[in-house]
């Protein structure tokens, strides 16, 4: 966020917004998370139910996807804490009359591979988990060393004090101009910190807590999350949180100047609209 220059054509100031490390790790992470999500849903489909504690209480899952008989036909149902929600056609049972119905948790278009193939899903998942780890370490170490974490992502005390106003401001999307647009706002900072320092590391730790070998080597993994089945449930919830973040993130990118945003995450350059009354 330095190296200012003016671009007469665009009537705005061009700043260098994202460093090469941020840009590269961002795109690697985007690809890696997509593969991890889709192969993860393939793995989930092998037993589409979640439990709390060390062991599976098969009669009382906290979440389960399956089918129920409704008269003559089967329908897809997702049960959360005992409440059955009809998810026919998507969760529990997908497909259509033409190509045939398929009893599975998540539908074919959301899993990797598309067909039921736990062995292949695991291979994709663990290979990309290594890439996720290396990429995440590269980002975190660089962010600490370069001051990115402190300078660009840590909210100031003042910002935290006025978080209420910031939330109200974002209720009606109006994006900052001038100097203010050179920095992340407090909600952005908190969202990015939550993903980079909480949700993504949580994915890694809960993933390891599902491994019998890692549990033997580091029993603290089991105690941290309250047992292997709880760890699996937290893994699922945390992944859901990341998906929700990505949805909001994409919407914000779209409505706050999609080409400007995309360019800044590819070349680093970002155009700042001058603040009113100035220039």
């Amino acid at each position: 966020m330095e190296a200012e220059e003016t671009n007469p054509k665009r009537k705005g100031e061009v700043i260098y917004r994202h460093s090469a490390t941020v840009r590269m790790t961002h795109w690697v992470n985007a690809l890696v998370l997509l593969v991890l999500l889709m192969s993860g849903l393939q793995i989930f489909n092998a037993h589409p139910a979640l439990y709390l504690g060390d062991k599976s209480d098969f009669a009382n899952p906290i979440l389960a996807m399956g089918t129920v008989e409704e008269g003559e036909r089967l329908t897809g149902v997702t049960t959360i804490f005992g409440f059955a929600i009809p998810t026919h056609g998507v969760l529990g049972l997908s497909g259509d009359a033409e190509s045939g119905y398929d009893e599975r948790g998540f539908p074919w278009w959301s899993t990797l591979p598309g067909d039921r193939d736990l062995a292949m899903g695991r291979r994709w998942h663990f290979f990309f988990a290594w890439l996720f780890l290396l990429n995440g370490l590269a980002y975190l170490l660089w962010s600490l060393a370069s001051g990115h974490l402190r300078r660009d992502l840590t909210p100031s005390r003042n910002e935290l004090k006025h978080i209420g106003a910031s939330i109200l401001e974002h209720a009606r999307p109006k994006f900052p101009k001038g100097d203010e647009a050179k920095r992340y706002n407090v909600l952005q900072k908190l969202a990015y910190l939550a993903v980079a320092l909480v949700l993504l590391p949580l994915m890694l730790l809960t993933g390891l807590a599902m491994s019998p070998a890692m549990d033997a080597a580091f029993p603290v993994l089991l105690d941290m999350f309250g047992g292997r089945q709880s760890a699996r449930t937290i893994h699922f919830i945390s992944a859901t949180g990341i998906v929700l973040f990505v949805v909001v993130h994409l919407v914000m990118v779209l409505i706050s100047g999609v080409w400007n945003n995309l360019r800044s995450m590819i070349t680093g350059r970002y155009v700042i609209e001058p603040a009113e009354g100035k220039s």
């Binding site: 599976s56 663990f126 070998a213 033997a216």
Partner: protein, 260 residues
Amino acid sequence: MSGARKLDRRGFLARGLAAASAALLGGCEELSDQTWVKRALESGEALTRVTQEALLSPQTLAREYGEADLSPEFRANGSTNPDDPAYVAHAKNGFADWKLSIGGLVEAPLDLSLAELRAMPSRTQITRHDCVEGWSCIGKWTGVKLGALFERVRLKADARYIVFHCADMLGSTGTEADRYYESIGLADAFHEQTILAYEMNGQTLPIAHGAPLRLRVERQLGYKMAKYVMRIEAVESLDGIRGGRGGFWEDLGYEWYAGI
């Protein structure tokens, strides 16, 4: 009208998303079949195995639980009632005339009856059984330590793997290729918690859970813990055995070292 338009737009978006992911998936699906992709993914598997082996020492034990933690219902997966005629005959007889055979690269091959196995030093452990599908059950297992068996038959210096040949057929080809088998390395074979269990939850091991003997390898996933073990063989390499990957599920693409 605007409502209909909104629905249309949503339908269009949904179709677009489905088409985009289909294109992406098609790409990945095709990638999955490419040899170089398979090799790359397998290199990840090798890294995962080496890392786990580096983090585990012979003293690293899987967590043991208390009686209160036992699963009320321990799921029986895979084969639950083998129909092999010889097995069925032994089962009818309570495995009274049955013998476990231990051979391969050992100095003194041996056949042992259940009574002889029960007379050997035993170990009882309450452990968590993690299925590759994702669920877990906690059970109490009593059995003879595999390491003690191999001290008795004296492993030859060139033995590197222990192979377990089972009575059940899990595949659907109707040939010998369906027969379950598994293998482990020496570090796991001589591990404190690696036993051949003949009791589960204080009772004689039920047929659904692998009677007369089931392997327990507590730091790995459930499919490593072969049920209906009939014959144990020490070998130098897994290459010549069946699919060459060291187990029924391994030959179908699952990891040989199933620690994760």
